[in-house]
Assembly symmetry: C2
């Protein structure tokens, strides 16, 4: 095992491997080769082995990997052995969809509250989750050990929300769905999810032909 710089693409793939392995595990399969994993996730065997080798020697030569054990290792690497408390800001359509998204729960992310500035929504529930006013957000974050915020407000409000989250000193990461670049101190992790970019790359690739 080497303590090298890990490619971000490797980390993304580990996440995919882990979800795939979770499914395989449920089927009761005990061992799996890099080739089988590659097949299952749409990659190459060499890539799978290289990705895993950044973090240790998890396999057995001639045999492959123990599914359960490997998945456990990967989840440890990704920080998924514990559960994360997450809040969602923006009770619009996308926020509503994400608040109910099974995948987050299944992978250890508990969305515990939703925040919005629309006073018609505040006090109501969104898929069983309480909706609070943004003015209550900082206090809530600190009291409830929230470390990740998901921003699904319109672009023009995203920076304001980010500023409040940063101030809490508890938030360590932000998943931003607003199509705007956030200015955030670098000790806080930010990832942008851009839904239209994906459609536009598709459009480009189609037209190119």
């Amino acid at each position: 095992m080497k303590e090298l710089k890990i490619p971000e693409a490797t980390v993304s793939r580990l996440s995919v491997y882990s979800r795939y392995l979770t499914g395989v595990e449920k089927q009761g399969i005990v061992n799996i080769s890099s080739g089988e994993i590659a097949e299952g996730v749409g990659g190459t065997p060499a890539q799978v082995r290289k990705d895993l080798a950044y973090f240790g020697e998890f396999g057995t030569r001639g045999v492959g990997y123990n599914v359960k054990q490997l998945n456990h290792e990967i989840m440890g690497i990704l920080g998924l052995k514990k559960r994360w408390n997450v809040i969602l800001i923006g009770a619009g359509n996308l926020g509503s969809a994400l608040s109910q998204y099974r995948g987050f729960q299944e992978r250890g992310f508990n969305i515990i509250a939703v925040f919005d500035n629309d006073m018609n929504k505040v006090g109501l529930k969104l898929n069983g989750l309480p909706i609070y006013a943004v003015s209550q957000m900082a206090e809530f974050v600190d009291k409830n050990d929230v470390s990740i915020g998901i921003i699904t407000v319109p672009a023009e409000y995203a920076q304001d929300i980010a500023d409040i989250l940063v101030e809490t000193q508890n938030i360590k990461g932000i998943l931003n769905f607003a199509p705007v670049v956030l200015t955030i101190p670098e000790e806080i992790e930010v990832r942008d999810v851009d839904l239209t970019v994906n459609l536009e790359v598709l459009s480009y690739n189609i037209e190119k032909k």
Copy 2:
């Protein structure tokens, strides 16, 4: 201008540049430098110039780029001068969110119908869009010149939906939100959007520190 292989990352960034320029254009700004674009989208000036240079010489030395003209060029490159007819398969939460998502409309993607196999939903409207049965999908695609399908069904049904879309001979691209690898003939473009991967990379980056 060279007809080289274009990095996919470049295409993604062009999409971001274009959306940014659309905003700048609305402010009535006429010219912009690579440095200003970089600032606006969170990149570097050299990157911006290199990305654009793959497709032509759009700027003026000493001056910069004409905002409106550059945006028009980029939209042409991305295939966004026309509008695309899009259908959405899966009238669940995520589908509902996407069907209403402004960003798609604004960028030239018309979602014209939603399909679902839940007979309690079929016949109803989702944010003003008709919900049809999946059995009607192939016919609809061919009659309405639909070229892109957005899959938001659970993982276990995604391949079946993809198979139907492929059969239509009209669909040219698929945006897949199901966390599963689709088997698709290579003449059809596929892009996967994986929501949990982003959260897990965030988790990894937070833990790493």
